[in-house]
């Protein structure tokens, strides 16, 4: 460990996020519970009660109110936080745009869970993918240590003058949020020094210097304001890299916008996001022992998307497979696959979109190995591959209300 003042704690993703929020001492915590986020906010409320965090914990009536409260509070010059998942994130959708458009550097843990319907409690990226156009940055954590580290770095990235964008730190529901591991937790004074004190520099609710925040904007000015956010996203990639470098200097752990493993001479590269990357790395390691030329890329930052880094890293690879944990219904490819295809536009390579692990279904080593093998043998397809789908997908709900012997069903 780099710092002698660091210590090891057994934490799951939720607890790691709470510990990071405590280390930064975020003074305003707004809570609304939702599976699988609830233990996160419960832990924060205990921290406030036991004065480990010098701040207030507020229960609100919905996630829409939670984000509204955080926005109002952040505008007064105070770091404010809430956390959510799935339909909670969907409920705050309208207000996410306010946080982004008003350039508030809010950092929010999002525990990725499927959207309804069907009603699920389990891991899926549909919730965060549905918010990819809100103007929020998105980082995806592979494990609890990354959750802790991204939360801390997140404040420095979001609050940077060239960025001033809100950030979602995404973690897989249950696979990361509820799975315990050893997390290296840093000393509070070091973390506070790393993130610095929050000094608002743009829109502020200060009675002495009054501002009308989010007033009506005409067609004569809307484009320019939206463009200001585009510039911020362009800056964000460089700012993320510089914060990653400073984090390594201070705390010793290395992070990158994309993490490429064994890609230099790879025949097939699999691109993944979230906790599945841990499994993919393990399969690559095992297959390489057998002499199979496979590699993988983990996407850390999804928004902004590091298209240049990706192109530089795997532009030479001919067979690319993208594993999405969301369906991307109605589109030719699933969300991450669309980004990858766009980044590698013009290059001579095959990008296949795979959909797996929806609604909490486990992404197994066997599944990943199968995908690699199929692509080594060039079993390509232009269609989205629902690779872990069961054979009888259309017939899993037999209608028990019909007596097929006496009632005649007309089949068209």
């Amino acid at each position: 460990m780099k710092n002698k003042n660091s210590k090891r704690m057994m934490l799951d993703g939720n607890a790691a996020a709470a510990e990071a929020i405590k280390a930064v001492n975020v003074p305003v915590i707004v809570m609304y519970p939702i599976t699988p986020q609830t233990p996160l906010v419960e832990r924060l409320s205990v921290m406030v009660d036991e004065k480990e965090i010098d701040g207030v914990c507020v229960c609100v009536e919905s996630e829409h109110s939670a984000m509204s409260y955080v926005i109002g509070s952040q505008l007064t010059g105070v770091r404010s936080v809430t956390a959510t998942a799935s339909v909670g994130l969907a409920l705050m959708h309208e207000v996410l745009g306010v946080a982004a458009g008003c350039r508030l550097p809010i950092v929010m843990p999002v525990i990725n869970r499927a959207l309804v319907a069907p009603w699920s409690l389990w891991c899926d990226h549909q919730d965060a993918m549905a918010e990819r156009d809100t103007g929020w940055m998105q980082l995806y954590a592979e494990n609890a240590q990354e959750v802790y580290d991204y939360m801390i770095m997140g404040y420095r990235i979001a609050e940077h003058k060239d960025v001033l964008l809100p950030l979602m730190v995404c973690m897989d529901g249950f696979y990361v949020s509820h799975a315990m591991q050893t997390v290296i937790v840093e000393e509070r004074s070091q973390v506070e020094k790393f993130v610095g004190e929050y000094t608002p520099c743009n829109l502020v609710l200060n009675p002495e210097k009054p501002m009308f925040v989010n007033n009506l904007t005409s067609p004569a000015e809307f484009t320019e304001m939206r463009y200001q956010q585009e510039v911020a996203f362009e800056n964000a990639l460089d700012v993320m890299e510089s914060v990653f470098a400073k984090f390594k200097q201070t705390f010793g752990r290395t992070y990158q916008l994309i993490e490429a493993v064994a890609c230099e001479d790879a025949e097939v590269v699999m691109i993944g996001i979230g906790s599945m990357c841990g499994t993919i790395k393990q399969v690559v390691k095992e297959m390489r022992k057998e002499g199979k030329k496979v590699g993988m890329v983990k996407i850390t930052a999804f928004r902004p998307f590091p298209f240049t880094h990706l192109k530089n890293s795997i532009g030479h690879v001919k067979k690319i497979v993208v594993l999405d944990r969301s369906a991307g219904l109605g589109a030719a490819k699933a969300p991450l696959a669309l980004e990858v295809t766009s980044a590698l536009d013009g290059l001579n390579c095959h990008v296949t979109s795979y959909v797996a692990g929806l609604g909490g279904r486990d992404i197994t080593e066997a599944l990943i190995e199968k995908i690699f093998e199929d692509n080594m043998q060039e079993k390509f397809s232009d269609r989205k591959q629902w690779v872990d789908k069961k054979e009888n997908a259309m017939k899993i709900r037999k209608n028990l209300n019909i007596d097929t012997e006496t009632e005649h069903m007309e089949t068209v």
């Binding site: 000094t199 829109l203 210097k209 501002m211 989010n214 911020a232």
Partner: protein, 87 residues
């Protein structure tokens, strides 16, 4: 309060507030006549808050810079103290 000021603000914001004479929108004008008893009932009804009591003249007074001519005051006055004339 600790705050850094920057020359150009980002996002939708206004730091200058100006009043527009919305009275210019009027088609009809409410005029208080000598039936006014200063009961003050019209004051909370006015959606623009432009009615005040003039204590010296002992009657209600309308600020025509901002009166939009909705005529709620004329419609509700129990003493028919508000006439309506064309602008």
């Amino acid at each position: 309060m600790k705050q850094e000021s920057c020359e150009y603000l980002l996002g939708p914001v206004a730091t200058l507030a100006e009043c527009t004479d919305t009275g210019k929108w009027r088609n009809q004008r409410p005029v208080i006549n000598d039936h006014c008893k200063c009961c003050q009932q019209c004051i909370p009804y006015c959606p623009c808050g432009v009615i005040q009591i003039n204590k010296k003249k002992k009657c209600a007074e309308i600020d025509y810079r901002y009166c939009k001519g909705c005529l709620i005051c004329s419609n509700m006055c129990k003493f028919n103290a508000v006439d309506v004339i064309e602008e």
